[in-house]
C-alpha cells in the first residue's frame, strides 16, 4: 500500500486524495438515469469497498452498462448521489449537466471530471484501442498527457504492464495485428497504466471467440488476487462464482438481489433471479 509520504515522490500517485478512512471506495445512493422518456436506472443504492470484486449480472437491457457508465460519468446521472473515495462526485441537490458541483465553473468541473475518470479504469466490450497508435503508445499516452509522467517512466511502466498481461513482445505492434483476446489484454494494461483505484469492466469477454475468453479472464483473476477493486459486468457465471466477493443482480434498472456467490447461486431469494440463473446455467 502507498503511504502519503510515498505518494509525494510517485508521479503516478501525487496530487490524488487518499480514500477517507472508514469510507467505502464507491458509494452510490438512489441513482436514476433516464434517456428521454426511457427510465433505465430506477434508484440504485450500493457501496463498493476497497479491494472488493463486485460482479453485476442480469438480463440484456437491464441497465448494467448504463450503471457502469454512470459510475465514471460517461453518462450523466439524472439524479442521485455518488461518492468516490469519500468525495462527492455526483450530488442530486446541485446536479448539473455533467453531474458535478453547480458552484464550480465549467472549466473546474471538467478538470474534476477528468481527475475522477483518470482514477477509474474502464474496459469496454469492444476494446476501443486506438488503431493509429502502437501498443506501447496506447498504454503510455494517458499517463504522459494526464499525469505528465516522463516518456521514460511511462515506457518502463508500460513494459511492466505488458509483461503482466503476457504480451511483452507486442509493444511495437498495431492493434489490428492482434487477436481479440490480445487486444482486450492490452486494453486492460492501458487502463492499469493510470494506476486506477477501481477497474470497471463492461462485458470484457463478450466480443471474443470462445478460445480467447480464458486468457482475458486469467488476467482479471490475477488483478483480483492482487486486491484490485473491480466492478465487472459479465455473463461468465463461472468467473462470477470463483472471483466475486459480491454479486448484484440488476434487472429493470433495480438491484433485485445481491449477495455472495454462494448465497446467490446456492439459494437465490428472488424469483426473477432464480429465473435468470436457470436460463444462463451452463
Amino acid at each position: 500500500m502507498t503511504t502519503p509520504a510515498q505518494a509525494k515522490s510517485d508521479p503516478f500517485l501525487s496530487d490524488r486524495p487518499v480514500v477517507a478512512p472508514g469510507r467505502p471506495l464507491l458509494e452510490v445512493e438512489n441513482l436514476h438515469k433516464s434517456f428521454g422518456s426511457l427510465h433505465v436506472l430506477r434508484g440504485i443504492t450500493t457501496t463498493i469497498r476497497k479491494g472488493e470484486v463486485v460482479v453485476v449480472i442480469g438480463p440484456s437491457g437491464g441497465g448494467k452498462s448504463t450503471f457502469l457508465r454512470c459510475l465514471n460519468l460517461l453518462e450523466v446521472p439524472t439524479s442521485g448521489r455518488i461518492w468516490f473515495g469519500g468525495e462527492e462526485i455526483v450530488s442530486g441537490g446541485s446536479l448539473r449537466r455533467d453531474g458535478t458541483d453547480a458552484n464550480l465553473s465549467h472549466r473546474e468541473r471538467e478538470r474534476n471530471l477528468n481527475r475522477y475518470r483518470s482514477d477509474m479504469g474502464m474496459v469496454f466490450q469492444r476494446f476501443n484501442l486506438f488503431p493509429h497508435m502502437t501498443v506501447i503508445d496506447n498504454v503510455t499516452m494517458a499517463p504522459r498527457m494526464v499525469r505528465r509522467v516522463s516518456a521514460d517512466a511511462a515506457r518502463r511502466k508500460a513494459m511492466e504492464l505488458l509483461d503482466r498481461v503476457g504480451l511483452p513482445d507486442k509493444a511495437n505492434a498495431y492493434p489490428q495485428q492482434l487477436s481479440g483476446g490480445q487486444m482486450q489484454r492490452i486494453a486492460i494494461a492501458r487502463a492499469l497504466a493510470m494506476e486506477p483505484r477501481v477497474m470497471l469492466f463492461d462485458e470484457p469477454t463478450s466480443a471474443l471467440d470462445p478460445e480467447m475468453v480464458g486468457e482475458v479472464l486469467a488476467v482479471m483473476k490475477e488483478l483480483a488476487a492482487n486486491h484490485m477493486t473491480m466492478v465487472v459486468v459479465t455473463h461468465e457465471m463461472n468467473f462470477a462464482r470463483d472471483v466475486a466477493d459480491r454479486i448484484l443482480f440488476l434487472e429493470g434498472g433495480n438491484i433485485l438481489e445481491e449477495g455472495t456467490p454462494t448465497e446467490l447461486f446456492g439459494s437465490p431469494k428472488n424469483a426473477r433471479t432464480r429465473d435468470f440463473l436457470g436460463k444462463v446455467k451452463n
Partner: protein, 245 residues
C-alpha cells in the same frame, strides 16, 4: 497508295509541320511570350496553395465547432454562423463568389492575388469543413469514450485520438478537394488575375492563335493534377504503412 499521292501528302505534312513550328515560335518564343505561361503558372500555384492552407484552417475550425455542437450542444452561436457559411458557399457558384469578393467585400483591396486567395480559401473551407465533419462522425464513439475514461479532456481526445484517425480516413477526399480547387482557380481571370489560364488568353489575343496556347495551358493543368494525384497516393500509402486503418 500511289507514290505521287504519298509524296503529296508527305509534302503537305511537312508544310503543316513548318507552319506549326512557326506558330509555336510566335506563341511562345517571340517577345518572350512563354513568360505569360510561366508567370501564370506560378500565380496559379501561389493562389491554390495559399487558398488550400486557408481553407484547411477554416474548414478544420468550422468542423470542430459543428461536431462539438452536434455531440454536446455547445457553441450554439458559432454553430449557427458555421451553418450559414456552409450553406451560402455551397449554394452559390464560385464565379459569383469571386466577383462578390472582388467588387463588394474586398473592393478596397487592390491586390488581386490576395482577393483570389481569400475567395478560394473561404470557398474551399466550406467543403473541407463538411469533409472533416464527416470524417469525425465516422470515428466510433468508443474511441472518444476510451480517451475520456483515461482522464483525457475533450480537446485532448479530439487532437490525439479522433482527428488523427479522421484525417487519415478523409485524406483522399481532401486531396480531391485540392485538385478541384487548383483547376477552379482558372476562373480568377474573371477578375483579371494573371494566372495560367489568362496567360493562354493573352497569347491568343496577341497572336490570334487559339489552338497552341490553350492546348499548352490544358496540358500544364493536366500534368499538375497528375503530379499532385501521385504525391497524394504516395502519402496515403505511407500513412497506411505506418499502421492504422
Amino acid at each position: 497508295m500511289h507514290p505521287l499521292t504519298f509524296a503529296a501528302s508527305l509534302a503537305s505534312l511537312s508544310s503543316w509541320w513548318s507552319a506549326q513550328s512557326e506558330n509555336f515560335y510566335i506563341c511562345f518564343v517571340k517577345n518572350d511570350r512563354w513568360q505569360y505561361i510561366t508567370n501564370g503558372l506560378w500565380r496559379t500555384l501561389e493562389v491554390a496553395l495559399c487558398a488550400v492552407v486557408l481553407g484547411a484552417i477554416l474548414g478544420f475550425l468550422v468542423a470542430v465547432v459543428r461536431s462539438t455542437h452536434d455531440k454536446h450542444g455547445r457553441f450554439g452561436f458559432l454553430n449557427a454562423i458555421a451553418k450559414i457559411y456552409i450553406t451560402v458557399i455551397r449554394g452559390t457558384p464560385m464565379t459569383v463568389q469571386l466577383l462578390i469578393a472582388y467588387f463588394i467585400v474586398f473592393s478596397n483591396l487592390n491586390d488581386k492575388v490576395l482577393v483570389a486567395i481569400l475567395a478560394f480559401g473561404f470557398n474551399s473551407g466550406a467543403y473541407v469543413a463538411e469533409i472533416i465533419r464527416a470524417g469525425i462522425t465516422s470515428i466510433d464513439d468508443g474511441q472518444m469514450e476510451a480517451a475520456r475514461s483515461l482522464g483525457l479532456s475533450y480537446t485532448q481526445g479530439m487532437c490525439r485520438v479522433v482527428l488523427p484517425q479522421a484525417i487519415r480516413n478523409i485524406l483522399p477526399a481532401l486531396g480531391n478537394e485540392f485538385i478541384v480547387m487548383l483547376k477552379d482557380t482558372s476562373i480568377a481571370s474573371f477578375i483579371g488575375l494573371d494566372d495560367l489560364a489568362r496567360g493562354g488568353s493573352i497569347i491568343r489575343s496577341q497572336t490570334y492563335q487559339a489552338y497552341i496556347p490553350f492546348l499548352a495551358v490544358a496540358a500544364i493543368y493536366l500534368v499538375m493534377v497528375m503530379i499532385f494525384s501521385k504525391l497524394l497516393a504516395r502519402l496515403e500509402r505511407h500513412l497506411r504503412r505506418t499502421g492504422g486503418k
